[in-house]
């Protein structure tokens, strides 16, 4: 591509593309380690479960990958705005460049490779390495951990406007607060009694829509003790923003003592609870009254 030599001035035409590449390389070389080493450990959702850790790794990798892309485009635009600015008052035309097939081909190939690689890696993470990455997989999850039979099953029931939890392994007891044992595999079955909610346990890295009549399964493996926030992530009416609870990951001993105290406290009401079911349709369901 020849560029007409239209300017009277220095004998050498500045090699704009080289300058841009150098600026980009320097900025990227600074940005990427900063992102991976400094920002990464602070990216959500943390490491309280291995799925949350997978999400955080995904977020870190993508930030680190997208940063040089952002920098490259920004450097080009900002450099061009400065270098190719028309300084006089007259309107002067530039060279009639219409395209450059090798450049376009390279761009198409390069972007396609990055995108397909991201999709492949994302699919691998989702299905193979992180058992669904903490997201709700519906009633027939595809990414299932191998030891599924050992999972602690917790049914999360979303209703307008609070969360309750049922533990089928503990006499189907229902509680309005969530505690989980550490270093354990947990299997959430998220459902709703009325409208669509979304169970979002931030530090656990769990997000699963609570849809009436649907059993939405999400897998997590807890690591160390800690507290986690539970919020609703799907607009469900007046107190949507107030569907907030704090849950705890505690030692298995503490968990067992908590759940037996819950069983004692809920004992008078236990006979009124329906047997554990994947979905929940207690009457009344249509127009009340």
């Amino acid at each position: 591509m020849t560029i007409p030599h239209t300017e009277v001035g220095p004998a050498r035409v500045p090699r704009h593309w080289l300058r841009m590449v150098v600026i980009w390389a320097v900025l990227s070389a600074v940005a990427i380690p900063l992102i991976v080493l400094v920002l990464g450990p602070h990216l959500p959702p943390g490491r309280m479960t291995s799925e949350a850790g997978s999400q955080r790794d995904a977020n870190t990798l993508m930030t680190a990958l997208l940063a040089p892309i952002v920098v490259s485009v920004l450097v080009f635009f900002l450099y061009s705005i400065v270098a190719f600015r028309e300084r006089g008052a007259a309107i002067v035309d530039g060279p009639p460049l219409r395209g450059h097939v090798p450049m376009q081909t390279a761009w198409v190939l390069f972007t396609s490779v990055i995108v397909v690689a991201l999709a492949a890696w994302g699919s691998y993470t989702l299905i193979v390495s992180s058992h669904g990455a903490g997201g709700g997989q519906g009633p027939d999850p595809v990414a299932v951990p191998s030891h599924r039979s050992q999972d602690l099953v917790v049914q999360v029931i979303g209703q307008q406007w609070n969360w309750t939890y049922r533990f089928p392994a503990y006499q189907d007891v229902e509680t309005d607060h969530l505690e989980l044992p550490n270093h354990s595999p947990i299997e959430f079955h998220v459902t709703s009694l009325d409208v669509t909610h979304s169970f979002w346990a931030y530090q656990l890295g769990v997000k699963a829509d609570a849809v009436p009549g649907v059993d939405n399964v999400a897998f997590v493996h807890t690591r160390d003790d800690g507290n986690f926030n539970i919020r609703c992530a799907e607009l469900c009416g007046l107190w949507h923003g107030h569907m907030f609870q704090t849950g705890n990951v505690v030692t298995p001993v503490a968990f067992k003592s908590w759940i037996s105290s819950e069983q004692k406290a809920e004992a008078p009401n236990l006979r009124y609870l329906p047997p554990f079911g994947r979905t929940y349709f207690p009457a009344p369901f249509r127009r009340a009254g």
């Binding site: 485009v73 530039g94 669904g132």
Partner: protein, 632 residues
């Protein structure tokens, strides 16, 4: 031959109010409302659940329906069908002369429709923006203090729905209607009366949506998810009816523009010479024609669940909320490309004019737009990744969503190539066009996070999504809209917009737009869900900063309105015929644009981007009309 309405003899001003115009339409619409409400009351009498709820959905819907019929009748939309039924001859045009009054009537001049759209959509856009300012007022504090939680939800729903409804035709309405015939060398659109109809459906849609306030508000946000929408108060009927009207308007706009571009191009205007803006309009029209009907269907079913005791979306009676979600997002995802593609068209149209170089990689740009159009129908389930959808399908939708970023990226390459070795002039339209690329870069790349399912588990339903779509829609489309306004208003109105106010508007808007929305990525990462009026107290500083920036952003819009009023009403400095020395065909016609656009159909010589080509003739030969001098 075309027929014109006869020139009226001088008459008292008030006589002009009588006849088929907007005021008659308002009166008949109001009358229709009361008639329909009464009919609905008769239909639903004795229905015990309507008595228990103290609302009559059937009455309200009938009221809206008859009000709409009254509105359209008052404007005269039934006159032509009736006259044809009575055997009178076909005509194409009506009421195209008559001064300022014709802007308030059914006028088949596409230029008049363009101006009507500009003001009609613009007024509702600013009402939506006002709601946003009121939302940010509430979010100054972590607990509801300004307005109660229920009103906040209505504010938020009104803001979102009004914005989506109005910005879907933000560019195609004013500028597509005004300039596509000029750019393709046609005298009119393919279906002028339908074109007028697409505009005159917008004010009732906007008014009906606002009337939701009187009926208990809207609890669902712009997505209207069943079953929450089904249990809402009558304000939901307003939402559904208004959105259905806009769906109809979009469908008709798409069909009209598609037909016009396909069949009415001037001789010499081959596909490779078509302005890129027209390609953008073409792609958008395909999406409008194919996706908007799905919205109408999804909303109609929700309406029937509410008013007719059906259970399309109620699990307990055999329906499913998933049906609504999938139908809605099958429309909803092409909808966001309906919003984005015209923006691409505008900025790629503007960049060559102010870089004084041809559009670099024209065919790649077209491929990008058509690629986005095609792929946009294959990605919608990325809104449903954690909803309990078939988990085996998630990698497929992850792939298609990632793939759609490839054609989107072509647009950036086109822009970069056009700027390369350009002779760039920083006029206000160019500033907005450049800012588009900055904003869309951030918005588009944040979409990559959302397309990756593990990352989406972190960010779905949080303020991260909010920041993403505001960057693409507001940072993209709305900035492109203002670029188009500053670029084309001198031709549309014959008046110069004040450049200094324009630059103040731009800088305030650009800086404070970024200061408002960039921190929202952090808010989403910090566990703040969307659509909430309460949040963790630790996020108050962040939210206060965002609210303060939002208020300044809102004030930049007021500066724009001030500029409009000052320039159009008071200063009224006449604009040159081609103030930007653009080679576009639309700039070759005189200002004000004659009724018939061209004395004779032009013969197109080349594409409109022949900058830097020695001795290039004008883009089209208009006949005896003088060639505009560059720099006039």
């Amino acid at each position: 031959m075309t027929t014109y309405a006869a020139e009226r003899p001088l008459q008292p001003a008030w006589r002009g109010l009588i006849g088929f115009n907007m005021f008659t339409a308002l009166a008949l619409g109001a009358g229709g409302w009361f008639l329909g409400a009464w009919i609905g009351g008769q239909i639903a009498v004795g229905n015990d659940y309507l008595i228990a709820t103290d609302q009559n959905d059937v009455g309200i819907l009938m009221g809206y329906l008859f009000g709409l019929i009254g509105w359209l009748g008052g404007l005269g939309f039934f006159n032509y069908p009736v006259s044809r039924l009575l055997g009178r001859p076909a005509t194409v045009r009506e009421k195209e002369s008559g001064g300022a009054a014709r802007y308030f009537t059914l006028c088949t001049d596409h230029k008049v429709v363009g101006i009507q759209y500009f003001f009609g959509v613009g007024i509702f856009f600013f009402i939506g923006g006002l709601n946003a300012m009121l939302m940010r007022t509430e979010l100054l504090r972590p607990v509801e203090r300004a307005w109660p939680a229920g009103q906040y939800l209505s504010l938020m729903s009104l803001h979102g729905t009004m914005m989506i409804m109005m910005t879907s035709a933000f560019i195609l309405g004013p500028f597509g209607n005004y300039f596509v015939p000029l750019m393709i060398g046609a005298r009119r659109m393919a279906f002028p009366r339908i074109e007028a109809l697409t505009f005159w459906l917008v004010p009732p849609a906007g008014l009906i949506l606002l009337s939701a306030i009187a009926f208990g508000g809207i609890p669902t946000g712009w997505t209207g998810y069943a079953p929450l929408g089904t249990e809402g108060r009558s304000g939901m009927d307003a939402y559904i009816f208004a959105f259905m009207l806009i769906g109809l308007s979009l469908t008709l706009t798409g069909i009209n523009l598609l037909t016009t571009i396909l069949t009415m191009r001037a001789p010499g205007l081959t596909w490779t010479r078509l302005p890129i803006f027209v390609w953008g309009v073409l792609s958008t029209s395909i999406l409008m024609a194919l996706a908007a009907p799905v919205l109408i269907a999804a909303l109609l079913m929700e309406l029937m669940d509410r008013a007719a005791n059906t259970s399309f979306y109620l699990t307990s009676s055999g329906g499913s909320p998933y049906l609504y979600e999938n139908l809605f997002w099958f429309f909803g995802h092409p909808e966001v490309y309906i919003l984005a593609l015209p923006g691409f068209g505008i900025v790629l149209e503007i960049l060559p004019v102010f870089a004084r170089k041809p559009l670099w990689g024209y065919k790649l740009a077209v491929a990008g737009m058509l690629g986005v159009t095609f792929l946009s129908f294959m990605v919608w389930q990325h809104h449903l990744f954690v909803s309990g959808m078939n988990s085996g399908l998630r990698p497929f939708y992850m792939l298609t969503t990632e793939l759609i970023s490839i054609p989107t990226g072509f647009i950036f390459l086109n822009a970069m190539g056009t700027l390369w070795h350009g002779r760039i002039r920083f006029t206000v339209p160019m500033l907005f066009a450049l800012a588009f690329f900055f904003n869309f870069l951030i918005g588009g790349l944040s979409g990559i996070f959302l397309s990756d399912v593990p990352s989406d588990v972190t960010t779905h339903g949080s303020y991260f999504v909010m920041a993403h779509f505001h960057y693409t829609i507001m940072g993209g489309l709305v900035f492109a809209f203002f670029a188009a306004v500053y670029y084309w208003l001198p031709k549309m109105t014959g008046v110069v917009l004040n450049e200094r106010l324009g630059k103040i508007h731009f800088w305030l808007m650009f800086v404070f737009f970024n200061l408002t929305f960039f921190p929202l990525f952090a808010a989403g990462f910090l566990d703040m869900p969307r659509r909430v009026s309460t949040y963790a107290p630790s996020l108050q500083t962040l939210n206060d900063f965002v609210s303060a920036s939002a208020f300044v952003l809102g004030s930049s819009m007021l500066i724009f309105i001030a500029n409009l009023i000052y320039s159009l009403v008071f200063a009224r400095i006449p604009a040159a015929e081609n103030p930007w020395a653009s080679r576009g065909l639309e700039w070759q016609v005189p200002t004000p644009v004659p009724l018939e656009n061209f004395e004779r159909i032009p013969i197109v010589n080349s594409g409109p981007y022949e900058y830097g080509v020695e001795g290039a003739p004008p883009t089209a030969t208009l006949g005896p009309v003088a060639v505009p001098a560059a720099g006039s």
